[in-house]
């Protein structure tokens, strides 16, 4: 399959990219890793007149802790996240997530920022970033603004990013001592989108849950932040009964569609089971195990 015709632009700097995006308005799409965009173009799901390739802009490929956040630059690949010593030692939930996205070859090109900016409810990072309370930095013609990931997904394949904005950085609050997170995905085979996925993040203090985050993958038109489950978890003991009830509340927040991956009932049940499992692992990690 050959993509439809478009003009290709390879800006060398971010201001140059923003100028191009501003000039073309909604006629342009940002190309980065290309692992979602190019398949879409081949299938004619999108036919942009211009592609602005941000892949040659230096200085956007970094993973660092600074100013209270883990900062992930726009051009960090999934493989880079998965193998980063910092991420492997302190953010196992990100390793859980990156390592189940597509397959190793796709992960060599696909970017973490693209996984969010694409706005696909079947993508895996959104659930994890929702659970972790992350925010993204959007850089546009008038400067930068931050958008909480909880406000990023406005509809299916639609985000709060303006056409002339680039998602330049992901910011995850550095987790306090006694916290832990996990992402659990059910997939039919390597490379498939999730039948269902659940991310959980727990902050434990004095033997109770001080704060909780729960995000869900591919269980509705947008990634889902399971707010009722999060509220329920706060102040509770991290035990099986608590996790079971949180799983039930998370499942109640889903609005999946039936497809070849399963029926509505099956997916809701998987949401419950996976949320419970993710919470169990998160609690174990929060306890230093």
């Amino acid at each position: 399959m050959i993509p439809p015709s478009f003009d290709y632009h390879a800006p060398k700097t971010l201001p140059e990219a923003l100028e191009l995006l501003g000039r073309f308005g909604g006629e342009a799409k940002i190309l980065s890793g290309g692992q979602s965009l190019l398949p879409l173009l081949k299938l004619r799901f999108a036919e942009p007149a211009h592609l602005v390739d941000i892949g040659r802009i230096p200085g956007l490929d970094y993973i660092k802790e600074e100013g209270g956040f883990l900062r992930i630059g726009a051009l960090v690949r999934e493989a880079g996240l998965e193998t980063s010593p910092l991420v492997r030692s302190k953010y196992p939930i990100l390793v859980d997530t990156a390592s189940v996205i597509a397959d190793p070859l796709v992960r060599n090109l696909a970017t973490v920022a693209g996984n969010l900016a694409h706005g696909d409810p079947a993508n895996d990072h959104p659930a994890t970033m929702l659970a972790l309370g992350a925010e993204v930095v959007a850089t546009g013609p008038k400067g930068t603004r931050t958008i909480p990931v909880a406000q990023l997904f406005t509809g299916i394949f639609t985000t709060a990013l303006a056409p002339a904005e680039v998602l330049t950085e992901i910011r995850i609050p550095i987790p306090p001592l006694g916290s832990g997170g996990a992402y659990v995905k059910l997939e039919r085979k390597v490379g498939d989108f999730a039948t269902a996925g659940a991310a959980a993040y727990l902050v434990l203090q004095g033997g109770v849950i001080a704060r909780a985050g729960v995000g869900l993958t591919n269980l509705g038109p947008t990634p889902i932040k399971a707010v009722d489950a999060e509220k329920y978890l706060a102040g509770k003991k991290p035990d099986e009964a608590t996790f079971a009830e949180a799983g039930r509340l998370a499942a109640a927040a889903t609005i999946p569609g039936a497809d070849r991956r399963g029926s509505v009932e099956y997916k809701k049940e998987m949401a419950r089971v996976l949320t419970t499992r993710a919470l169990r692992i998160a609690a174990r990690r929060a306890g230093g195990k």
Binding site: M1, I2, P3, P4, S5, F6, D7, Y8, A10, L31, G34, Q35, L38, P39, L41, K42, L51, D53, G55, A79, A102, D103, P104, L105, V106, N108, L109, V190, G191
Partner: protein
């Protein structure tokens, strides 16, 4: 739609081409450069038959634009053999019968070649994970894993 003049180092040799923006890397390699060892399988980023190394990293060349390779180096299956000597991974596939129809083999070998460059003594499950983006519909993977192990042994 303007054409782009690109320069790509392919298997160590500098090559130039005038390409449309939408030309895929796999088509540049096969149709412009006549390097038909790189196969087109599913053409939907699933099967990995089109795997090549882009600056040493295995990628699916059906999901990369030729213009994205401008100024970079590409290695295809034709670049594995050196001075008439097979690469250890090629020898491994031969010795261990790591193929039946052979369609997935070029991509499988490129992935394995890059994997072994970063992991000289892999466990079986590391090998299986490394090749999980390359589909084989004949072998059941057992002999492919043996082929990679054979190559790893030769590289030590």
């Amino acid at each position: 739609m303007a054409k782009h003049a690109i320069q790509v180092t392919v298997n160590g040799a500098a090559r130039g081409a005038e390409v449309e923006s939408r030309l895929l890397l796999v088509h540049l390699l096969r149709e412009e450069f006549r390097l038909t060892g790189t196969h087109i399988g599913c053409d939907t980023t699933h099967c990995g038959a089109c795997t090549v190394l882009l600056d040493g990293v295995p990628v699916k060349s059906c999901t990369v634009l030729a213009v994205q390779a401008d100024g970079r180096s590409v290695m295809t299956v034709e670049g594995l053999e050196k001075d008439g000597n097979l690469d250890p991974i090629q020898d491994g596939f031969m010795q261990e019968h790591g193929l039946q129809c052979g369609f997935c083999t070029p991509g499988m070998m490129m992935t394995a070649h890059a994997f072994l460059a970063g992991n000289k003594n892999p466990e079986e499950d590391e090998i299986r994970r490394a090749i999980s983006g390359n589909l084989c519909r004949c072998t059941g993977y057992v002999n492919i894993v043996k082929a990679v192990q054979h190559a790893a042994g030769k590289l030590q």
